[in-house]
C-alpha cells in the first residue's frame, strides 16, 4: 500500500525547461540561505553604495516635497498644462509608474500560479517595487486634482452636499482599480513576508530588532497549521491578483479609450497598455536586480538564469508592443477617418515627432538586441537595454497624451505643450521617493523570500535524500 504522498515522493521532480542555467548557483543549505539573506539586514555593514544612492534619492525626494508644497500653494497652473493639453506629465507619470508596478504582480502572482520556481528569488523585491511604484503613481492624479485636499470627494460616501461620484466614468473606475491594486499588493507582500520576519526575529542580535521583527511577524511559529493557511491564502491571493493586474491597466487605458479623441478612441488599448506595462515593469525589475545582486553579492541567488528569463519576457512583451505600434496606423488608415489619419501623420512628422521616433527606437528597435543571448545574460548590457526601455515607455505615454490632445477636432483650439520646470521636478522627485522607499526596504526587510528559496533546495522534500 502506498499513499498518494508516497507516490508523489517517488515521482522524480520534473526538470524545468531551460535548466542549462541554474536557479541557485553553488551548494547551499537551509542555514547558509538564511544566513546570507538575513545578514544583509541584521549583521553585515551597510555598503557605501547604499549611502550614496540614498543621498541622491533623498535629495530628489526633498525636491519633490518642495515642488508639491509650491504646487499646493499656487495650484496646478505651475505645470505646463493649458487647454487643450490639460493632461500632461501628471497623467504620463501615473501611467508609467503604475505600469512599472505590474511586473511585480506578474512575478509574484502569475508566475506562482504557473509554478515557475525561479521566480522565488526575485518576487519579494519585485513586489516591493510594485508597492512603491503604485504609491508614486497614486500621488499624481491626486496632485493633479486642483484641490488635492478634497481627494475624498472621489469616493462615494454619505455627504451633506448630496452629490455622488458618476459611476459611468472610467476616472471613477480608476479610483477603485488603483486603490484595490495598492491594497491587494500590500496584503500579498506582507503575507509572504511574515515567515521571513520570524527568521529575522529569531536571529535578531539586540532587543530592539527582536521586538521590531517579533511584532511584525505577528507571532509566526512555522507550525504546519500556519503553513496550511498561509499557502492557501497565498495561492488564492495570487489567483485574485492575476485578473486584478490585467484589470488595472485595462481600466487605466479606459481613461483614454472612452474619450472620443482621435488616437485614443481605440479598442486595442487595453492589451496594448497591459503589454507595455509588463514590458516597462520588467525593465525596472532588472534595473533594481542588477545593482542589488552585485552590491549584496547575491549572484548565487539571482543568477544569469533570472536575467535571461526577465529579458525573454521583455522581448516577448516588446514584440506585442511592436505589433500594436504597427497596427495602430493601419487601423487609422483602414477606418478612412480623416481625424484618425491626421493624428498618425502628426505623430510621425508633427511638432512632437521626435517623441514618436525616439519611442520607436527605444521600445522596438534597440530591444531587438535581446535576441542575442549575450545581451540577455551580461548584466551591464542588459542594464543598458532596460534603461532605454524604461525611458522609451515613459516617452510612449507622453507621446500618446500630448499628440492626441494638442491637435483636437477644431483647428481653432489647436495649441502646443511646453513642460514647465515643475513638471520635471515632480517627475524626478517621484523617482527619488521610489528610490528612498526601496532602499529602506532593502535595509530593513528581507529582500529575498527566504522560505521560498529553502523550498528550491534539492533536499527540501521528505525522502528527497540528503540529510546531514
Amino acid at each position: 500500500m502506498t499513499t498518494v504522498a508516497e507516490k508523489q515522493l517517488q515521482t522524480p521532480r520534473r526538470p524545468e525547461p531551460g535548466t542549462s542555467l541554474p536557479v541557485i548557483a553553488g551548494a547551499e543549505s537551509f542555514g547558509t540561505l538564511t544566513e546570507q539573506i538575513t545578514s544583509v539586514v541584521l549583521t553585515r555593514p551597510t555598503p557605501p553604495f547604499w549611502y550614496y544612492t540614498f543621498a541622491v534619492g533623498m535629495a530628489a525626494l526633498i525636491m519633490f516635497v518642495v515642488s508639491v508644497i509650491y504646487l499646493l500653494y499656487r495650484g496646478v497652473g505651475v505645470f505646463g498644462i493649458e487647454i487643450p493639453v490639460a493632461w500632461s506629465f501628471a497623467i504620463t507619470n501615473f501611467v508609467w509608474w503604475i505600469g512599472i508596478g505590474h511586473a511585480g504582480t506578474l512575478i509574484s502572482a502569475i508566475l506562482l500560479l504557473l509554478n515557475q520556481g525561479w521566480r522565488n528569488s526575485i518576487n519579494r523585491f519585485a513586489e516591493a517595487m510594485t508597492i512603491f511604484a503604485v504609491m508614486c503613481a497614486g500621488l499624481f492624479p491626486l496632485l493633479h486634482l486642483g484641490r488635492p485636499w478634497l481627494f475624498y470627494w472621489l469616493l462615494p460616501y454619505p455627504n451633506t452636499m448630496h452629490v455622488q461620484p458618476q459611476f459611468r466614468s472610467p476616472l471613477v473606475w480608476d479610483v477603485f482599480a488603483v486603490s484595490t491594486y495598492a491594497t491587494v499588493s500590500l496584503l500579498f507582500w506582507y503575507l509572504g513576508m511574515v515567515p521571513d520576519l520570524a527568521s529575522l526575529r529569531d536571529r535578531a542580535k539586540n532587543r530592539f530588532a527582536y521586538g521590531f521583527y517579533g511584532v511584525l511577524c505577528l507571532g509566526w511559529r512555522g507550525a504546519s497549521r500556519h503553513w496550511r493557511y498561509h499557502e492557501t491564502a497565498s495561492l488564492l491571493l495570487a489567483g485574485l491578483a492575476t485578473p486584478l493586474v490585467l484589470s488595472v491597466h485595462t481600466v487605466v487605458s479606459f481613461d483614454f479609450t472612452i474619450a472620443i479623441l482621435p488616437g485614443w478612441h481605440s479598442t486595442i488599448f487595453p492589451p496594448y497598455f497591459v503589454a507595455g506595462a509588463i514590458y516597462s515593469g520588467f525593465a525596472m525589475v532588472l534595473i533594481l536586480a542588477i545593482p542589488l545582486r552585485k552590491v549584496y553579492h547575491l549572484e548565487n541567488l539571482v543568477t544569469e538564469r533570472h536575467l535571461n528569463n526577465c529579458a525573454k519576457v521583455m522581448l516577448a512583451t516588446g514584440l506585442i508592443l511592436a505589433y500594436t505600434y504597427a497596427i495602430e496606423p493601419f487601423t487609422s488608415w483602414y477606418s478612412g477617418d480623416t481625424f484618425e489619419m491626421a493624428v498618425v501623420h502628426n505623430r510621425a512628422v508633427g511638432p512632437h515627432s521626435w517623441t514618436f521616433w525616439v519611442t520607436l527606437s527605444c521600445n522596438v528597435f534597440i530591444p531587438q538586441l535581446l535576441w542575442f543571448r549575450k545581451w540577455r545574460t551580461d548584466p551591464k548590457r542588459l542594464f543598458l537595454v532596460s534603461f532605454v526601455i524604461l525611458y522609451g515607455m515613459w516617452l510612449e505615454r507622453y507621446m500618446i497624451i500630448i499628440t492626441s490632445l494638442h491637435r483636437d477636432f477644431l483647428p481653432s483650439s489647436w495649441s502646443n505643450f511646453i513642460a514647465s520646470p515643475w513638471d520635471v521636478s515632480v517627475l524626478v522627485g517621484s523617482i527619488g521617493l521610489f528610490v528612498v522607499c526601496f532602499l529602506l526596504f532593502v535595509r530593513f526587510l528581507p529582500m529575498i523570500s527566504i522560505f521560498e528559496m529553502r523550498e528550491l533546495l534539492p533536499f527540501s522534500r521528505p525522502g528527497g535524500g540528503v540529510e546531514k
Binding site: A5, S29, F30, G31, T34, H162, V163, Q164, P165, Q166, F167, R168, P170, W173, F176, T180, T183, V184, L187, Y190, L191, P195, A198, R201, D202, R203, G214, L218, G219, W220, R221, G222, A223, S224, R225, W227, R228, Y229, H230, E231, T232, A233, L236, L237, L240, P243, L244, S247, F451, E452, R454, E455, F459, S460, P462, G463, G464, V466, E467, K468
Partner: protein
C-alpha cells in the same frame, strides 16, 4: 532527553530533526499512535504534513463568501446611487446603466476576497500573538532556519512521560526537549 531553557510545568515534548523526512515519518507515527494534540514546525511549508496534522481549512470558503459580499456591495451601491440617491440624466440614457458598473464590481470583489484571505489566514493562525509556550525553548529559534520540530502537548489524553518519549526517540531526533509552560 534534555530539558530546555524553560521552567514551570511541562507544556510539551519537542523532538528536533535536521530534515523533513524524519519529521514527516515521526508525525505520521504520532498520528497513528492516536495522539491528537501535536504539531509539526518547519522552516518552510512541508505539504506532506497537511494530511497528517489534524485540522480544517476554511480559508477558501471565507474567500468565496467575501468575494460574493464584495460583488453584492458594489452592485447595490452603484445601482442605488445611480438610480435613487444621485440620478444623472445623460442624454436620456437609462439610469440603470449596468455595463458601466462591471469594473467597480470586479474591483470590490477582489478587494473583499483578498482582505478575507489575508485576515482569515492570519486570524486562523491566532495572530497577532505576542507569546507562545514553544518560544520558551531557546533552541526553537532554529525552527525558522534549518531545524524541524515535532511537539506533543502534555495535555493530550494519550501523553505519557515514558511512552511518548520512547515513541519520539524511535525516530532518532537530534535532541528531545522538554518544553515548560513558563
Amino acid at each position: 532527553m534534555r530539558i530546555g531553557s524553560s521552567t514551570g510545568p511541562l507544556y510539551a515534548y519537542a523532538a528536533e530533526f535536521d530534515g523533513p523526512t524524519k519529521l514527516v515519518d515521526a508525525a505520521r507515527a504520532v498520528r497513528e499512535a492516536g495522539y491528537k494534540r501535536f504539531e509539526a514546525y518547519s522552516p518552510y511549508p512541508v505539504k506532506e504534513l497537511d494530511e497528517i496534522v489534524p485540522g480544517w481549512n476554511p480559508v477558501p470558503a471565507l474567500v468565496l463568501f467575501a468575494g460574493i459580499a464584495g460583488a453584492g456591495t458594489a452592485w447595490i451601491m452603484q445601482s442605488w446611487i445611480a438610480i435613487v440617491d444621485f440620478p444623472i440624466n445623460v442624454g436620456g440614457r437609462p439610469l440603470y446603466s449596468w455595463p458601466a458598473f462591471v469594473p467597480i464590481t470586479f474591483e470590490l470583489t477582489v478587494l473583499f476576497a483578498s482582505a478575507a484571505a489575508f485576515f482569515g489566514a492570519l486570524g486562523l493562525c491566532g495572530f497577532p500573538l505576542l507569546h507562545h509556550p514553544v518560544f520558551n525553548l531557546k533552541e526553537f529559534g532554529r525552527a525558522s532556519d534549518d531545524r524541524f520540530f515535532l511537539c506533543i502537548e502534555a495535555r493530550d489524553h494519550k501523553f505519557n512521560v515514558r511512552k511518548t518519549a520512547e515513541l519520539l526517540n524511535e525516530f532518532e531526533p537530534l535532541e528531545l526537549w522538554e518544553v515548560g509552560k513558563d
